[in-house]
């Protein structure tokens, strides 16, 4: 996400681990000959997962090399998508959505609770390296606004209390249940379905 990777400690080299090499082969085989460049995005993701959640330049160069592309073509993609982190992030990468629907539903409060609870500002990482807080553009969960993403999971229908609870839970080493944090089930209305309830009977 951050396109300024100059500050980060860049490793000299990058290689896929033996386990990821297998995954690499699976990914690479999905793309027909002459279209191998399309494997770039899944490979960048693989590299990011291997490398503590961020993409060092060496990994991008390595992928450019494998795909026979100029390195700049990989940099372009990696800097475009916010899900690629070009600087180190904490173990739990908290991304709070602040786009319009979430904002209308109180994302400002969620953000300030996160800042307060973690004691960091936007874009910072806690000293213990456990949390990074960032802002994110719409993640297409507006129906459950406000929401945030922690690593690969969405936490939706947040309020101040549930946000604190999630952060506390992670701190204590227990992974909170993803999804809506109130009584809702998925995108259903609060308190269960409101329409077509007797559709079964009607049939």
């Amino acid at each position: 996400m951050s396109s300024d990777s100059s500050k980060a400690m860049q490793p000299e080299t990058f290689e896929f681990s033996a386990k990821n090499q297998k995954k690499f082969n699976t990914i690479f085989a999905k793309y027909p000959k002459g279209r191998e460049a399309s494997a770039m995005m899944p490979l960048l993701d693989l590299a990011q997962r291997q490398h503590d959640g961020w993409l060092p330049r060496a990994a991008m160069d390595h992928i450019a090399d494998i795909l026979n592309l100029a390195p700049i073509r990989v940099y372009e993609v990696a800097t475009f998508y916010t899900m690629y982190n070009l600087a180190p992030v904490g173990k739990n990468h908290i991304q709070v959505c602040t786009n319009l629907p979430c904002w209308l539903r109180g994302s400002d409060k969620i953000m300030s609770v996160c800042k307060e609870k973690l004691g960091i500002e936007l874009g910072d990482t806690t000293n213990d390296g456990k949390f990074t807080l960032s802002e994110v553009e719409c993640l297409c969960a507006c129906v459950n606004a406000p929401m945030m993403q922690i690593n690969d999971d969405f936490y939706e229908d947040l309020d101040e209390d549930s946000t604190v609870a999630i952060l506390e839970s992670i701190k204590s080493g227990v992974k909170p249940t993803p999804g809506p944090q109130n009584s809702r089930k998925g995108g259903e209305p609060e308190g269960g379905a409101k329409t077509l309830r007797d559709s079964k009977e009607a049939n």
Binding site: S3, Y75, E76, T79, F80, Y81
Partner: protein, 684 residues
């Protein structure tokens, strides 16, 4: 052929054109930033919007192909409003720093803002600013000014073939650059400065020097390599401020190499501005009369066989003609132009020029490159080969150093062994050549300056004949020269038995008493023995250091002179500034000296010298025509050495006295050449 109506004018245009091109055909100007006729269509600046009937929205004319019955409007109030809107958006984040911007006066954004924009902005918020970037010693970047047209990105990946530029980030955070800090390594990178429609990329050496309206523009021809690119020399007072490319579809299209563009600051340093005579081991400034007297003392009464001349790589045809006549009048036949010892001879013109022509490369379908690193020796020819490669159906192979030519070109081998295999038809590339309809080969000086150069030449001729490179309407045999003066010298017959090497040997053996160097700096001047050296040239380079008498001549921007490029194209430079100090146009120096020596040459005006040139070789009658020769025999069959071909040019940025004196070229050498050596570890 679709018919369409543009602003009420009905026209019929070729299929596959865009609306913008159709508009241009009838003289309607469409403003644009990202569209460039030599680059792919990007369609991202939106400045070329036009109205199309039955289309719900305005269309980008640069990306819209013409169709039957289209009705296009480019002059309606709606179009005017669209353009104003786009212009306003483009200017939102563009700093209004025109007074301190080098592009001012030749800026597309400035011109089009005046022509199509509004007179004020409604944007009250803060403008975005971009952290500045470094692109090496040639290009000065001011990326806040960038409007993201991506012309430079497309140029570097398409034309130059060195994809280093890109767009990183997205949305408001999008930036154009290399992402990692580094100097651009393309030999054509300077062209991005011309392509940039705003002041984001400007010339670094030319920064804050002059405004375009202060410059006097002179159309001329480049001599930094043997391509003879068309250039425009911009001068102010007596100074060459910058050099820009000029359109010549047959040679350089609209590109020039970085050396052509940036070596011009070498014209201001190390110049010979007055005659010098060596007295007691020291060169003393003197007058023309004294210098001529010193020469006359040595030459008068000399036996012709003890006098020799060598013409250099930047010498014009006029001065070579005069020196050839002077040498003959003294009674000597020892004059040669082949400083690098190339084994080419001038028996047959087809045997020493680039017969296919540079634009002819586009008709070829297979190419064998022998002993030439074309990217370093002639970047413009390399760009044309890449252009041909990109259109598809083109196979290329090279024999020589393993280098990246920016297009797919398989390295077939390093030396003559591979050449023999191809000649015998045993090599797999032989099949490619056999199959090709219009195969060509390019023979570089790296293959010809060797002791067995003549045999390599004969072998190349055999390959050309065997694989159908020579037909009635196609000549695929090409010699790539590195010296601007070489083809002219060969055309004028400036060759002697044994070449420059034998002249130098005779000097060190004491068989030659007086040697005349006409800008000859590439020879080993330590080997000239006790010979009395007359050096005529414009820079204090190797030749001048050894000289006993220095006659200051004119550089290529300071004379009306003829050069013949590697294709055999006769081109003329024009005087842009006067020679520095006491220096004179070269042929006039030799003409004046001949009078002092009592062998007065029979020409007093430039026209008379030029008619003398035509007398020697009728080819000089032509102007800007690539005239090859009739195919015949050349080269001598002989034993081939099995060593590898090595390109004569190691450092692209420093090849001649002008570029060696250039500070900009020195910076490039430091940034790219020395850095490269460190990277590949050949520097100890």
């Amino acid at each position: 052929m679709p018919k369409l109506t543009i602003d009420g004018i009905e026209i019929e245009v070729d299929n596959g054109l865009t609306v913008l091109q159709a508009c241009e055909q009838i003289g309607i100007e469409i403003p644009r930033f990202c569209y460039h006729e030599r680059l792919t269509v990007a369609g991202n600046c939106r400045m070329c919007l036009v109205e199309m009937e039955r289309a719900p929205k305005p269309v980008a004319s640069c990306a819209m192909p013409v169709g039957e019955g289209m009705v296009i409007t480019t002059n309606s109030p709606a179009v005017k409003k669209m353009r104003q809107g786009v212009m306003e958006l483009l200017l939102i984040n563009h700093p209004l720093d025109c007074p301190i911007c080098d592009q001012g006066g030749e800026c597309d954004l400035q011109d089009q803002a005046v022509g199509y924009g509004m007179d004020r902005s409604r944007f009250m918020e803060n403008k975005r600013s971009v952290k500045n970037k470094t692109f090496g010693p040639l290009i000065k970047a001011m990326m806040t000014r960038c409007i993201h047209c991506t012309r430079c990105v497309r140029f570097s990946s398409e034309i130059a073939g060195v994809p280093e530029m890109g767009t990183t980030g997205r949305g408001e955070h999008m930036e154009v650059g290399t992402y990692i800090k580094k100097a651009l390594t393309s030999e054509l990178s300077g062209n991005m400065i011309d392509l940039c429609p705003v002041g984001a990329l400007t010339s670094n050496p030319y920064a804050f020097d002059t405004r375009p309206w202060e410059l006097k523009k002179t159309e001329s021809v480049d001599v930094m390599d043997a391509v003879g690119s068309a250039i425009r020399v911009d001068t102010k007072g007596g100074e060459v401020m910058r050099i820009l490319p000029r359109l010549n579809e047959d040679v350089n299209e609209e590109w020039v190499s970085d050396k052509t563009r940036f070596a011009c600051d070498g014209l201001k340093s190390q110049r010979l501005d007055s005659p010098y005579v060596r007295r007691n081991g020291k060169l003393i400034k003197t007058s023309w009369n004294d210098a001529f007297a010193a020469i006359s003392e040595k030459i008068k009464g000399i036996d012709g066989s003890r006098f020799a001349s060598i013409t250099g790589d930047l010498a014009c045809a006029e001065s070579m003609t005069a020196l050839k006549d002077l040498t003959a009048s003294i009674g000597s036949t020892k004059i040669d132009c082949r400083q690098d010892g190339t084994k080419l001879d001038n028996r047959n013109r087809a045997g020493y020029v680039f017969n296919t022509t540079i634009s002819g490369i586009e008709n070829s379908d297979a190419c064998l490159i022998i002993g030439a690193n074309i990217r370093r020796e002639a970047p413009i020819v390399n760009a044309r080969l890449r252009k041909r490669y990109l259109t598809g159906g083109f196979e290329a192979g090279m024999i020589g150093e393993k280098v990246d030519l920016t297009f797919s070109c398989e390295n077939l081998g390093s030396g003559t062994d591979t050449l023999c295999e191809i000649a015998d038809g045993k090599h797999k590339f032989a099949k490619v050549l056999k199959k090709a309809k219009k195969p060509m080969l390019i023979l570089g000086q790296g293959a010809l300056t060797r002791p067995d150069g003549s045999a390599v030449l004969a072998m190349a001729r055999a390959i050309a004949e065997k694989y159908g490179m020579i037909t009635d309407d196609w000549n695929g045999f090409n010699v790539l020269h590195t010296a601007a003066a070489r083809v002219g010298g060969l055309d004028l017959g400036i060759t002697c038995e044994g070449g420059v090497a034998s002249i130098v040997d005779e000097c060190s053996a004491g068989k030659i008493d007086v040697i005349y160097l006409l800008g000859a700096d590439e020879i080993d001047t330590n080997k000239l023995g006790k010979a009395f050296v007359i050096y005529q040239g414009h820079h204090g380079d190797a030749g001048a250091h050894r000289a006993d008498v220095i006659l200051p001549g004119a550089a290529y921007t300071e004379k009306n002179a003829t050069y013949v490029n590697t294709e055999g194209r006769v081109q003329k430079t024009q005087l842009a500034v006067f020679p520095v100090g006491e220096a004179r146009e070269d042929w006039t120096i030799i003409r004046a000296l001949s009078d002092v020596l009592g062998h007065k040459l029979p020409y007093d005006t430039l026209l008379e010298v030029r008619s003398r040139m035509v007398e020697i070789n009728a080819v000089f009658k032509s102007d800007d025509q690539a005239t090859g020769g009739v195919w015949g025999k050349f080269g001598t069959k002989g034993e081939l050495e099995s060593s590898a071909f090595v390109s004569p040019i190691l450092n692209f940025h420093m090849t001649d006295p002008i570029s060696r004196s250039s500070e900009t070229m020195a910076q490039c050498t430091e940034a790219l050449f020395d850095e490269g050596k460190r990277n590949i570890g050949t520097n100890g």
